[in-house]
């Protein structure tokens, strides 16, 4: 339900970037558009499918998570429609994964279908939906480009055969700060608890990111998160909330506060901060000394999705490296598609991105990034409850 103030400048910037990138990428995109469906049988089936389904596709995703259109430089949504003739309704209506779950739960629990053919959600939610049997296996036979998926994101523990999910973007949860406001570089989670920053620090409502970072700072293993291991971190967070050290717990909306100068430092997401920093050069993002949390958002097909063929077309299209490169250049997260880095490196306008360790973490950086492991259903309930009691006061 939460509409948050989009920062207009940021959108403008994204559009500017898309504009810059399009010059170099237009040719491959056109080639791709002309050469679709090279396998004759595949094309026939696709067309037939598209006709049957009325050539429609409905997607729900997070806000500002794709390259937007601007005059003369169509964004991915527009280009996909042009390339395929499929009418795509792309909604940026996932603000909070848990609230989105609450929204879709009544229909799915009652065995009804959702209007969405694809939902983009975080991995732990994907795991939950798989467990509940609320997802459709993806038609991988129609997504040949899925072979471009980078190895590190293949076959996650919660989808071991890679049947239900295909990554949209991946990213890092770490510390974002405004160097002018902090007056110094921040390096560790402890810095967020510095009394000098009282009331100018926020943490994420995404429990696994906030708790994961705090637990790493406590030297705990987040790949197998244990209830008792988490208690010191919970206690620390609760004290900081009570003392007024933590001003807010946020979703995406920490960006507005960071730009407005209400926050000096916060727990944030790498791509957001990379984009914001181009507008506000004093903003920094750092993976804390104790390690960062690596997460992934995934494309999922809810049970009974009405346009599976169109959904496959979309997934195949965004896994085409030139398209993926445009999305990556706009959102500046870790692209799940192999070959994006080379494409970005070739264009002077985007070459700097290709050497950005937050977009393309090398082996040394990857060792400092950790995946937050699964929580059992019973464990998750008490984690959620304790975390809610802390964030809700």
């Amino acid at each position: 339900m939460t509409p948050f103030a989009h920062h207009e400048g940021r959108r403008t910037f994204l559009r500017r970037l898309a504009w810059g990138a399009s010059g170099a990428l237009l040719t491959p995109a056109l080639l791709q558009a002309c050469g679709r469906g090279p396998g004759g049988g595949g094309e026939g089936a696709d067309k037939e499918g598209a006709d049957k389904e009325g050539g429609e596709l409905v997607i729900s995703s997070f806000p500002l998570y794709i390259d937007p259109s601007r005059p003369g430089a169509p964004g991915s949504v527009e280009r996909f429609q042009r390339d395929t003739g499929i009418r795509l309704r792309y909604g940026e209506d996932v603000n909070d994964v848990r609230q989105f779950f609450a929204r879709i739960r009544p229909a799915l629990a009652a065995g009804q279908t959702l209007p969405q053919d694809i939902v983009v959600l975080t991995s732990w939610m994907a795991a939950r939906l798989i467990e509940l049997g609320w997802l459709e296996p993806l038609p991988f036979e129609r997504i040949p480009n899925a072979s471009n998926l980078i190895p590190s994101l293949r076959k996650p523990s919660w989808d071991p055969e890679q049947r239900f999910s295909l990554p949209w973007q991946s990213g890092i949860a770490g510390i974002a700060y405004n160097i002018k406001a902090t007056g110094r570089e921040l390096r560790s989670i402890d810095d967020l608890f510095d009394p000098a920053l009282k009331g100018r620090v926020s943490a994420l409502l995404e429990m696994r990111d906030t708790m994961g970072l705090l637990m790493l700072a406590d030297g705990k293993d987040v790949s197998r998160p244990g209830w008792s291991d988490a208690q010191p971190s919970f206690d620390r967070l609760e004290r900081a909330r009570r003392d007024g050290q933590i001003r807010r717990f946020t979703g995406n909306d920490y960006q507005t506060d960071l730009l407005a100068g209400n926050l000096a430092a916060c727990i944030g997401w790498s791509g957001d901060v990379a984009q914001l920093a181009l507008e506000q050069p004093d903003l920094r993002f750092v993976v804390p000394e104790s390690g960062g949390i690596l997460w992934a958002d995934l494309m999922l097909m809810p049970r009974g999705a009405r346009h599976p063929n169109a959904a496959a077309r979309w997934m195949n299209w965004v896994y085409d490296p030139p398209q993926a490169a445009r999305i990556a250049a706009a959102v500046q997260y870790i692209s799940p598609v192999e070959g994006v880095r080379q494409i970005l490196a070739k264009d002077p306008a985007t070459a700097a991105l290709a050497s950005n360790p937050l977009m393309f973490p090398g082996p040394a950086e990857q060792r400092r990034l950790h995946l937050f492991g699964p929580l059992s259903e019973a464990d998750e309930a008490r984690w959620d409850e304790r975390f809610a009691r802390i964030t809700q006061g």
Binding site: T2, P3, F4, A5, R98, Q99, A102, R105, P106, A109, A110, R128, L132, K198, G199, R200, R241, R242, G244, I246, R247, R248, F249, T256, A260, G261, N262, E377, E380, A381, D384, E385, A388, R389, I390, T391, Q392, G393
Partner: protein, 333 residues
């Protein structure tokens, strides 16, 4: 948000039949004598059919309000069958109430404290405003009343979000306070926290006050309409100062409006979800935020129902107390 169910209650002060006033209309007081059956008393001769006029409203409340509310009772005593399913099973689980009271008791208290403070602040703002509109508004009176309502035409959600810029640390309001050197004194008074306004209790209470101001001002203006200016002149002739004119004329005669206004503003304020969410911090959340979280994040529908019923019960008690006090004052038939 509770404008719809609450609005009928605006009417009591409007009904123009104060007991002390002589009957102005040829109403029910004349009807018995015209029938010549005065020995039976007035009650038995009132026609019954006007009660039927209540039927649509009662039916509306029954179907859309009372039944859903009653359905919360069994839910609040149930347990979810599974964590993510929708089904719940009735177990007569009173512990739900105990648990939510234990966990959310302090937040309940905070909600009522914020609502009371906002209402108090609203009364202080509304009295001079209503007085000016009534006695100094002249022919601009309808326009001024319109202006009071005008802010409510903007969604209160949009208003709260807009306020986040207005109250921001580097925002215009704080800049002004800074240039006036008011930061330290206001901090001393507990109005500002850590030199900021956004994400504090003050911001939440100010936001609530803004929402409820029209609900206080309008009934007050209506109540003051019935104060004959001659009374004020008479008080003046008797050498009553401004203060005594207020305490002995305006205040007692406008109290029915005040009683209605407090009812109309306290209830929605106690259940507000938007102001704490956008203007408050994690230490300033109110009970509706907890219910929202229980239902949508923790997926604990039974406990959310229990907490909702506790809130409803507390509000009902407050309303009944207010009505008991106000019954002599409210010009009910």
């Amino acid at each position: 948000m509770s404008v719809l169910p609450a609005s009928p209650r605006v009417e009591p002060p409007v009904t123009p039949a104060s007991p002390q006033q002589p009957p102005r209309h040829r109403g029910r007081s004349q009807r018995p004598s015209s029938h010549g059956l005065s020995s039976h008393g007035p009650r038995s001769h009132r026609p019954r059919w006007p009660w039927l006029l209540l039927a649509p409203g009662l039916l509306w409340l029954l179907v859309l309000y009372l039944l859903p509310l009653l359905s919360l009772v069994p839910l609040s005593l149930s347990e979810p069958v599974s964590r993510f399913g929708l089904e719940t099973v009735f177990r007569g689980r009173l512990a739900n109430y105990q648990e939510v009271l234990q966990a959310y008791g302090p937040i309940l208290l905070r909600s009522f404290a914020y609502a009371a403070l906002a209402t108090g602040l609203g009364v202080v703002l509304a009295y001079p405003l209503a007085w000016a509109i009534r006695f100094r508004g002249g022919r601009w009176q309808p326009l001024l009343m319109g202006l009071v309502v005008l802010p409510s035409l903007t969604s209160f959600l949009v208003r709260a979000i807009a306020w986040t810029s207005l109250l921001a640390d580097q925002g215009p309001l704080l800049q002004l306070l800074r240039s006036l050197g008011l930061i330290a004194p206001l901090e001393g008074l507990g109005v500002l926290h850590d030199g900021r306004l956004l994400n504090t209790a003050t911001a939440v209470i100010l936001g609530l006050t803004t929402n409820l101001l029209p609900f206080l001002v309008l009934p007050l203006v209506v109540a003051m309409q019935r104060i004959d200016p001659v009374l004020l002149e008479a008080a003046d002739d008797l050498h009553a100062g401004a203060l005594r004119r207020f305490t002995q004329v305006v205040w007692p005669l406008s109290r029915p409006g005040l009683a209605a206004g407090i009812l109309l503003s306290l209830i929605p304020a106690a259940g507000d979800v938007v102001n704490p969410r956008f203007l408050g911090g994690p230490n300033n959340q109110m009970i509706a935020n907890s219910i929202d979280n229980l239902l949508l994040v923790q997926l604990q529908a039974p406990r959310a129902a229990a907490l909702t019923l506790v809130l409803m019960a507390l509000i009902s008690v407050a309303v009944l107390l207010q009505l008991r006090r106000g019954l002599e004052e409210l010009p009910l038939p």
